[in-house]
Amino acid sequence: MAQPLEALQAGRALDPELIPLLRLLQRAKGFALAFLKCNVPVERERLVEDLIQELRAWGRSGRILKLREPVVDLLQEIQQLDPPLREGEALFVLGFESSIPADVSFPPALVKLNLARALFREFPCPLVFALPDYALTQLARQAPDFWSWRSGVFEVEMPAEAVATVMERTVPLYDRDLSGLTPERIRSHLEVLQELLGELEARGGFESERLSLSRQIASDLVALGEIEQARSYAERALKISKELGDFQAGALLTSENLGDLRSQAVTLEDIAFLRERTGDVSGALKLYEESLRIYEQLEDVGARAGTLGDIARLRARSGDVPGALRLYEEILQIFEQLGDVRSHAITAGDIARLRAQSGDVSGALKLYEEILQIFEQLGDVRSRAGALGDIERLRAQSGDVSGALKLHEERLQIFEQLGDVRSRAVTLGGIARLRAQSGDVSGALKLHEERLQIFEQLGDVRSRALTLGDIARLRAQLGDAAEARKLQSERLKILREMGDLGGVANNLYDLAQLDLQEEKLEDALPRLAESWDLVNKIGHAEGIAFVGQLLGALLSAGNRPEAMAMLQSSKEAYLRLGRDQKAGEIDRMLEKLSEEKAPAQPTSGEAS
């Protein structure tokens, strides 16, 4: 008779729910079917590893089939295992939930599973499916014949004390720049977080963990370009943060509920940022103002100043430069009072940029010199390099290419000293553009090629794609349209794989430009049409403006109503971006088209 399981356990205590499963695995001769429910992916893996370790004590081995992508035919996946399954083993299937989307009825994987169930009986050992709750339910309902063969269903809940550990391990990508990560990496992170959130929601409580998760999920979704979904998670986060606040309603402001109010403010800013991304500047402003009121309630002067900065930026974007400058001046005073020299300098940089945009280049340059000195005193080399970049742009715009180049060289040295290979590569791009501007296209190309290699080594797929675009434009300039097109097409492939909808739209626009240069209107139009769909889908204001202008102009001859609608959208986008001059250009195009619509009125000298 088998020894009691407890007697055989060594080391770490096993989750009690696993002991019956171990009994099943120990006793089964041949095929048996078991399900292990756990909502947290890392926990599922850990549980399976624990089980395999325990199985060794009885001379049984465990194998894992980890499905990294959705499959249609699980039977085939198992049949193709090498070596094949044998008696005395147990197979643990992980990752099958990716083949069971929550919002799809009768996904092919479950249909096939049910239909082919008899063939599973031919396997010589037990199979254990480790799944989250929703996937197990789907399987039970949509592969009922397969489900009916179960010998056990084991449900493991993550212990409360493990929640913090799991959160620490799985959540933080939050403040990282996600743009360099592949969509697959971000999506798999996203799925982990969503499952974890589901687990915590099912258990109830864990408000601050749920808040943190919702915000991180929103951040991941933004990186994937899924703005609407991101917004919904950000709204959820706001709701939770308000609930946390409401929970304390009526109480004195204590340090605990101060934290809840603060997280409300932060979440409002998250949503504001998303609204800004979709071009809803007025919506974003409203939320920033709400966040501002909270910081005032909290008497957090520094955070208030930060939010004022966001509002100032948006005012500037909407064209209210004087209003923005007034706010920046207020912010400068706050940082002076706080003695926060660094933030003072950064705000001064925002003012300088605005002044330059308004045409006061000398005023801007003067401010930048002050800022440079501050960063030198602070020893903040990196911020100094940033300011040098702003000055460089002004110099380049005013035609002082050699002055701009000198600044770039200085920045390059700073980044080399810091060992910041990426920033160095970005700076090389700035130098390359200046060289191209001065006519040294081949010099510029060399630098871009160097950048390309750096980004390839860093695995920065997105930056590599952008650099391909730079090289393609230069090749086009040199008359090598074929090479330009080849590079743009390679770039397009990368951007599509990345799911970078904005990048794809931009690239299609570039390719269409190439088509138009070669008078291939029939190729350009579908590219522009796709680009137009994308920029509208993601609400990319700049894209709507540029693509709408070009496509509207091209269509105006053959499809006036559609062309006018597009041009109207383009004009509105330019206005939102504060590009009044461009908006005026579109207005003139629209007027012309409207005049052409109206039939000519007969004059007195003409026959009626």
Binding site: M1, A2, P4, L5, P20, L21, R23, L24, Q26, R27, A28, K29, G30, F31, A32, L33, S105, F106, P108, L110, V111, K112, N114, L115, A116, R117, A118, L119, R121, L136, T137, A140, R141, Q142, A143, P144, D145, W147, S148, W149, R150, S151, G152, V153, E155
Partner: protein, 450 residues
């Protein structure tokens, strides 16, 4: 494994919910007396096949896990003993059930029959086969494809292979249908307009097969098509389900081959709103009910059924070693008379112990687990409907009630008439109890069978 099992490991392996019994297995118990007057559905099938002068297509329905496959295997064995040639077709192996186009189903049936005949050494007229082959090839294949397949047949013949061109063609078609996309489209596009021709030729083939079987001193040919009920019950919209699409809208295919057929169908289909249409196509229908463990209305224990289920377990387990006190009785009650659930509950209970006999606590935990399983698989909107079913012991002919039979939350029983009741495990779910409290106007009859 020594039966009846008297240790934990053997007890576990003796109660496998995934294994139908082959004919003649020592564990078999005839549950017919416990199932009610229609309990001998397989025997009724048998009688009709033997007595009928013309070929019959009979539907064989029953709940998942009620013992359909076990009974059909016995039917096959009984018919073979009586001199019939029986081709047992496991639909999931031979038919692409994901995509049940008429052409696929017909081709697969013909192919399976051809394979069974050749394996039994029953040869169909070569002339007919060649005509069928030529027709197939002409309709479906490109010239190059036919040449390629012919070449394969020739080279296989050289190394001792015995697959004639007809079989090869059918195998190729089946392969395309199961796996191909373009090829599958090609077959469909070319065969679909010729469906009636295909059916006619299929019928000719079957007629010839019957003749050949009789020449080999077989009484006749019988096709048993198992597992067609594995097709997922999907709502196709407009009040149609996937089951109705195959068995009602395309029922004439199954009816048109001209030989005895026994075809498994899901029990829910017989409660479809279009059940009368089904009856018009298939007048010969049998349902294998659940084993009754309580009487209708009074819900008093039905000892015959309970004794049979006890017997079922006795053939597998040493009852006095594995059970103590009331535990066996509790287990039978918890199963609702469902044979597979009985096996599942035994396994569930064994997971909780390291020694025998099974204590009451193990049975309770096993039952609780089954309760949880139902909690998971029942859609939210069913709970108030289940309360009604439990009160009235009847189901309506609509999609929701079909699903209840399909997912086993409602079991079908029989006295002289058919009746239904909610599975005992469903009664214990929190959701059902809450729904009951919300519907006090439904007077529940005498409590559950526990």
């Amino acid at each position: 494994m020594k039966l009846p099992a008297s240790n934990l490991e053997d007890a576990f392996n003796a109660c496998d919910p995934a294994q139908p019994l082959p004919a003649g297995d020592e564990r078999y118990v005839d549950l017919a007396p416990g199932r009610g007057s229609d309990g001998n559905a397989a025997v009724q099938c048998h009688r009709r096949i033997v007595r009928s002068e013309k070929p019959l297509v009979q539907l064989f329905a029953g709940h998942r896990g009620c013992g359909k496959s076990t009974e059909l295997r016995r039917l096959q064995s009984d018919l073979e003993q009586e001199g019939f040639f029986v081709a047992y077709i496991e639909a999931h192996k031979d038919i692409d059930l994901e995509d049940t186009e008429p052409t696929d189903v017909l081709l697969s049936l013909i192919r399976s029959l051809d394979l069974s005949l050749r394996q039994a050494g029953i040869e169909v007229s070569e002339k007919l086969l060649n005509e069928f082959t030529d027709w197939f090839a002409e309709v479906v294949l490109e010239k190059t494809q036919r040449t390629e397949i012919e070449a394969e047949v020739r080279s296989e013949a050289e190394i001792g292979g015995r697959f004639p061109l007809f079989a090869k063609l059918l195998a190729r078609f089946s392969g395309w249908i199961k796996t191909g996309t373009e090829s599958k489209k090609q077959v469909r596009q070319r065969l679909d307009p010729q469906l009636s021709q295909l059916l006619a030729r299929g019928k000719l083939f079957v007629t010839e097969a019957r003749r050949a079987a009789k020449e080999k001193e077989k009484k006749d040919l019988v096709l048993i098509v198992d597992s067609l009920d594995l097709i997922a019950l999907k709502d196709l919209g407009d009040g149609r389900t996937s089951h109705e699409a195959l068995f009602i809208e395309r029922g004439n295919l199954l009816n048109g081959l001209g030989c005895h057929m026994v075809v498994t169908v899901p029990i829910s289909l017989l409660f479809s709103p279009r059940a009368s249409n089904l009856g018009a196509i298939f007048p010969d229908r049998h349902i294998l009910p659940m084993v009754k463990i309580a009487e209708r209305s009074t819900r008093v224990r039905f000892d015959t059924g309970r004794a049979l289920l006890k017997e079922l377990l006795k053939h597998r387990l040493a009852l006095n070693v594995v059970f103590e006190g009331r535990t066996l009785d509790k287990l039978i009650e918890a199963s609702g008379g469902h044979p597979r659930h009985l096996m599942t509950l035994v396994r569930y209970a064994l997971d909780f112990v390291d020694e025998l006999p099974l204590a009451e606590e193990a049975i309770d935990r096993a039952f609780k687990r089954l309760v949880n399983d139902f909690d998971r698989s029942i859609p939210h909107n069913h709970w108030p409907l289940l309360v009604e079913v439990h009160a009235q012991q009847a189901v309506k002919n609509d999609a929701e009630h079909q699903l209840m039979l399909y997912n086993l939350s409602v079991l079908e029983y029989q006295n002289d008439e058919r009746w239904c009741d909610v599975h005992p495990a469903v009664l214990e779910t929190r959701a059902f109890q809450e729904a009951s409290r919300n519907q006090p106007q439904l007077v529940l009859q005498h409590g559950s069978t526990s």
